[in-house]
Amino acid sequence: MSSQEHYGSRLPYKFLIGVVTLVIFFLEAPLIILVIQSFTAESYLSFPPPSYGIRWYKEVLTSEDWLNSISLSLTIAAIVTPLSLVLGTMAAFALDRGPKKLKNGLQTIMIAPMVLPHIVLGLGLFKMALQLDIDDSMLAYIPAHLTITIPFVVISVGASLQTFEQSLEEAARSLGANRFWAVWYITLPIIRPALIAGGIFSFIISFDEFIITFFLTTFQRTLPIEMFSTLMYQVKPSIAAVSTLTLAVTAFLTAMLILRGQVTSGDKVIK
């Protein structure tokens, strides 16, 4: 007996496949068109392009403006990611191990920046940055990005800690490890998949962040801001090339995340 028969006749099953294919196509079509357009050899965007080449990639990777903005975005994301992981993990531990009465309230506060309209958050951070005279600098970008990346770490690590068997830490402590080393040698390696997920989320969100950063910059431009301001006065295929590059980075990291998920969920070692 085949699995299809199990769910009923073949016709609805085929229909389901068709619907799913259509949905996927509509979701991904804009991206596919963008990627194809980025390989145009012409000086304008068109679909399908009359001829193909890597002309616009060359242009992007030799343009000082693009390289500066890519470098700024990567630098911010590279600083934000470890900070976000450390602070988010510490917060997740505090929520998991701290007084139960405070847990719900504190967790809501921690996660609020994730659901707040970013434009409101951006406005607030903008006023603050002006007051402290740190706008248009790392001192403003990094805390601003952290407010929206930390919740992702708190959620992924927090969920992992909920299923973590605390007697493992107690076993380590009875064997001579203090609280810190028990967490370091036992807890952290076991919740590693959650740490990796939180780290990748932090990186992607920071790298991709536009609205809040837009409030905080004056002369400096992160990659999303550079893309936006380029689009303001011209639509050149270089935008498609940059978008494809960004897409590639994000897709690579997401793929890593998904692959890790598969590896760990199939791993009998991790409970």
């Binding site: 068997e165 007697s167 493992l168 107690e170 076993a171 380590a172 402590r173 009875s174 064997l175 001579g176 490890a177 203090n178 080393w181 028990a182 040698y185 036992i186 390696p189 076991i190 009998k268 070692v269 991790i270 409970k271």
Partner: protein, 357 residues
């Protein structure tokens, strides 16, 4: 020298008293069991010895050193958990080595000591396995090796056989006791299983509602329970309320007339008399040529077949209902006893035990 000594240990959680003033000692090389129903405070007591719970008052010493406020990692106790708590991301060898690493034992010394510990629990061949690849019994042994490798002052076992099936549990019981005697390691064992307690311990501490009910050797606990709780909790028992009659010669226990061998003062009332079910013998009425001295007759009101034994309820004529167990020796007589049968009931005088107090 006592390995562990608790003096007037109290643990309160707000208004709730988990442990109410416990005095307890484990002598060097002794196997002591904390036995009691769930919620009696036995696990709380063990966790105080391990250092995870700080007593509200009282003092706790390990190896004659005051450890009351010392954190767990500065005590040398070997702890085995009910769920074993093996580190899932480390091999068996790494699990066992962990304690040595934390205690900063030189790398060159660690190898032989890990090997020694694994040999002790006959797992030397499985050092490179991950815990998830082991059976329950093997995991149990790894947990034991991991606890023993640090040469603890005391071994603490928290219901270590709870997750094993019955046959394996009985096997591990023997193995653990042999190992403990071989190493002469002081051991504090927590269980709610009286069979485990009776078969393994040098001394049993029976706990109830945060207090110690009785401390004694397994035979003392079973044969001479000091409180009604202990008599009820350990094994099956008939506990009858009686009063002394006939100028102190007999005890009338709910209509069952017994000789006053315990020499309870004449006129005493409300005394508790215990008769273990296995000490009572029942035979089909009139089947024995020579009738027993005690002229007690009854009727079988229920019978439960338990394999090696058969448990009967016997309603004594003008007396109490007694639980009686008979060994299943395959005798026809036993098999023929059914509900409604009239039986002769007999038990030796030594089976009559008067609970103190």
């Amino acid at each position: 020298m006592s390995s562990v000594e608790l003096k007037s240990i109290v643990k309160k959680y707000g208004e709730v008293t988990a442990v109410a003033s416990i005095d307890l000692s484990v002598e060097s090389g002794e196997f002591v069991t904390l036995l009691g129903p769930s919620g009696c405070g036995k696990t709380t007591t063990l966790r105080m010895v391990a250092g995870f719970i700080r007593p509200t008052s009282g003092t706790l010493s390990i190896g004659d050193v005051d450890m009351t406020g010392v954190p767990p990692h500065q005590r040398t106790v070997g702890l085995v958990f009910q769920n074993y708590a093996l580190f899932p991301h480390m091999t068996v060898r790494k699990n066992v080595e962990f304690g040595l690493k934390m205690q900063k034992v030189l790398t060159s010394e660690r190898g032989p000591r890990v090997q020694e510990a694994l040999e002790l629990v006959q797992l030397e061949a499985l050092g490179e396995r991950m815990p998830a690849e082991l059976s329950g019994g093997q995991q149990q042994r790894v947990a034991l090796a991991r606890a023993l490798v640090i040469r603890p002052d005391v071994l603490l076992l928290d219901e270590p056989f709870g997750a094993l099936d019955k046959q394996l549990r009985d096997h591990m019981r023997v193995e653990l006791r042999e190992l403990q005697q071989k190493l002469k390691i002081s051991t504090l064992f927590v269980t709610h299983d009286q069979d485990e307690a009776l078969s393994m311990s040098d001394r049993i501490v029976v706990m109830s509602e945060g207090k110690v009910s009785q401390v004694g050797k397994p035979t003392e606990i079973y044969e001479k329970p000091q409180t009604r709780f202990v008599a009820d909790f350990i094994g099956r028992s008939n506990i009858l309320v009686g009063k002394v009659e006939s100028k102190g010669k007999t005890i009338n226990a709910e209509g069952l007339i017994l000789p006053n061998k315990g020499n309870v003062v004449a006129g005493a009332e409300g005394i508790s008399v215990m008769i273990r079910p296995e000490c009572v013998e029942i035979t089909q009425s009139g089947s024995k040529a020579t009738s027993t001295s005690a002229d007690v007759k009854g009727k079988v009101t229920a019978s439960i077949y338990l394999g090696s034994i058969v448990q009967y309820s016997v309603q004594i004529n003008k007396g109490p209902n007694l639980v009686v167990t008979q060994n299943n020796t395959g005798s026809e007589n036993l098999k023929n006893l059914t509900v409604g049968d009239d039986v002769d009931v007999s038990f030796p005088d030594s089976a009559i035990y008067i609970l103190p107090g």
